[in-house]
Amino acid sequence: MRGIFSVLVENKDGVLSAISGLFARRGFNIDSLAVGTTDQRDISSMTIVSTGDERTISQIEKQLNKKVDVIKVRRLDETRTVELEMLLIKVAYSATNRAALIELCSVMGAKIMHVSPKYMIIEMASDPESIEDFIMLCKPFGILETQRTGTIAMAKK
């Protein structure tokens, strides 16, 4: 199963390594990790997505809670959560398929950020599943490079 954790931590040096070290040491998976500051400067917010059985996911929550620099841990319910991920993708094109790529972007809600004679850099902000779909659909054109931010998530209530 998938576990999405929204974690508030002290914005201090060593905290990110303490958290990633915890996952490494106890053999927990990190599928994605996104970190940023919050509206309070001394607090950072992390969204951690992991997979494992129920015992593992609940251990992750408890072990995160044990960390002195962790202020709050919320395990988010997948069905009641807004998830967002950002993608930058560099896709090759030719005269024959240029229109098709532009159409794909428009259908999927992706934005063309840069166009050069041989490739486009496209941006997409969406839920992780749509990002996966979009990458798959870009494959036939020729993907030159991708960059993903990792999921950020927020509970609906």
Partner: protein, 540 residues
């Protein structure tokens, strides 16, 4: 006031009177501040690992955080095994390490080691102090974190220049601690408490399994009273030895791999197991999943992450054992356990030890039994790791004293420095160390600390000329291919004792044992007793 003087002030504010360590250039300002005061005595050990173990022994007996100090680089890295040991056993230790000047951090200069990074999985929390004015807050928090919730070691790494800097603000020791991410739970949740009481009332064959957490939480009295009031039997883990006297009618021994068969039968026969302050690790309960299918389990621990870590669905109760059992003592519990207790007594009576010991030399079981019976009622017995530990745990006759050993990490060489710490915490109490000849040689440099400080320590070396527990394993699993385990007949213990001004005793038969022990225990200076044990004697 400079940083180093502030550090000493902080220790004084915490009521620290004894610290263990070894100086070096990176911690020199602190040692200068120690030199200029007289309320804190510094015990110079012979290797930094021993400073950590001594602080652990001190903490366990004084029931306050133990303090150890080292310099930077190798001095600090030598401490890591001791920190890992204290972490595994949840012992409150505050470790202060000197660090290279803050301007040089990260440049791999002489004797620089990244201690925060190196110890990150072996400490409860760590600090690298970069601002001298942070010292009072950091010390206050470090002692608080080490000694609350699930206890454990905390590291304070302080660059040399920060120790030497003048404080800009006037020194003020914070009265309260407010760490927003650290609020340990003390009282049990009301509805969980009700569930626990209801479950106990429904059980016919309840059993308490007490771990080291009971002792760390100073809750032995409460748990004993609870067992006595409701007639509930108790078994312990190795770290829980001492929760009840061995001869208590409700005590049914240590469980687990190396425990009493009747204690394990008690676990199998119970319909409700109440685990208190124990990790349910592999040595105590080899197949926890099988357990949870058979009986109801209540798991009480101050660390919520322990509950459900090794054992599946249970009734969890997070909180401080002392407070919880104080409440449970007044709970509405009515159960009749007469028959259950009778069954357990039968188990105990019918357990026959089939182990065969060599007749020629000292029987290690007889040694432990005779020794612990002859010890003062409130004496402290410190066992090392290896066969000596298992024989000790199995046969120690707990009266009103303490049994110290390292159960979690199993660090050889723990006992001698831990005993030194214990002796400083309780100078009037008898402290006896039992150690194998393997572990003895990993820590015998501490005889220097014992000699210089004229500590009347009592060390017993259980000598079988092998790393005995590994040898036993090789015999069982590898057809007796003894690989890298022979120690032969060294050192010459009589000469070693003489060179450290210790009384020397040598026993090579059971007959000579009682009288030799009497003389050994009544010796008013440090004494070393070597007991020859046959290398074929086994723990199982």
């Amino acid at each position: 006031m400079n940083g180093a003087e502030a550090m000493v002030r902080c220790l004084q504010e915490e009521g620290v009177t004894t610290i263990f360590g070894i100086p070096g250039v990176a911690i020199a300002p602190f040692y200068e501040a120690i030199y200029n005061q007289d309320s804190i005595r510094h015990i110079l050990v012979r290797q930094e690992q021993a400073a950590g173990h001594a602080a652990s022994g001190y903490a366990r007996i004084s029931r306050r955080p133990g303090v150890c100090v080292t310099s930077s680089g190798p001095g600090a890295t030598n401490l890591i095994t001791a920190l890992a040991t204290a972490y595994a056993d949840s012992i409150p230790v505050v470790a202060i390490t000197g660090q290279v000047n803050s301007s040089l951090l990260g440049r791999d200069v002489f004797q620089e080691a990244d201690m925060r990074g190196a110890t990150s999985s072996f400490v409860k929390y760590s600090y690298l102090v970069k601002d001298v004015d942070d010292i009072p807050r950091v010390f206050r928090e470090a002692f608080y974190i080490a000694n609350t919730g699930r206890k454990g070691p905390v590291l304070i790494d302080i660059p040399c220049d920060v120790q030497a800097q003048k404080l800009e603000k006037a020194f003020s020791y914070p009265e309260n601690v407010d760490i927003r991410g650290y609020k340990p739970t003390a009282r049990g949740n009301k509805s969980q408490m009700d569930k626990v009481i209801e479950t106990i009332n429904k059980s016919m064959k309840p059993l308490i399994c007490a771990g080291g957490g009971v002792i760390l939480g100073n809750s032995e009295t409460e748990i004993r009273s609870f067992c006595e009031k409701f007639n509930i039997p108790l078994v312990s883990t190795m770290m829980g030895i001492g929760v009840m006297p061995k001869k208590h009618p409700l005590y049914f021994g240590m469980l687990g791999n190396n425990g009493k068969p009747y204690a394990n039968r008690a676990v199998s026969g119970a319909d409700l197991l109440i685990i208190v302050g124990a990790r349910v690790a592999d040595r105590a309960v080899p197949k926890p999943d099988a357990l949870e299918q058979r009986l109801k389990v209540i798991h009480i621990d101050v660390d919520s992450a322990e509950i459900g870590k090794n054992l599946g669905p249970t009734i969890p109760l997070v909180g401080d054992a002392k407070l919880i059992f104080r409440e449970l003592l007044n709970a509405d519990i009515h159960i009749d356990t007469e028959n259950w207790i009778r069954t357990l007594e039968e188990f105990k009576k019918n357990t026959v030890d089939t182990r065969v010991f060599s007749e020629k030399l000292v029987n290690p079981m007889t040694l432990v039994t005779t020794l612990s019976e002859k010890m003062d009622d409130d004496g402290i017995y410190v066992a090392d790791v290896g066969q000596n530990q298992l024989w000790s745990a199995d046969n120690y006759v707990m009266k009103n004293g303490r049994f110290l050993t390292t159960g979690g990490m199993g660090t050889m060489g723990y006992s001698i420095p831990a005993s030194i710490g214990a002796k400083y915490a309780a100078p009037d109490k008898q402290v006896v160390t039992v150690v194998g000849d393997g572990a003895f040689q990993m820590s015998m440099y501490e005889l220097g600390t014992i000699a210089v400080n004229r500590l009347p320590m009592k060390l017993i070396v259980v000598k079988n000329r092998y790393l005995g527990l590994v040898r036993e394993h090789q015999e069982k699993v590898y057809q007796g291919h003894y690989s890298g385990v022979a120690l032969y007949d060294y050192p010459k213990y009589d000469k070693l004792a003489e060179s450290y001004d210790m009384e020397y005793f040598h026993v090579d038969s059971n007959d000579a044992l009682p009288e030799a022990l009497d003389r050994f225990l009544s010796c008013d200076k440090a004494a070393l007793m070597v007991c020859d044990v046959d290398s074929s004697d086994k723990t199982k």
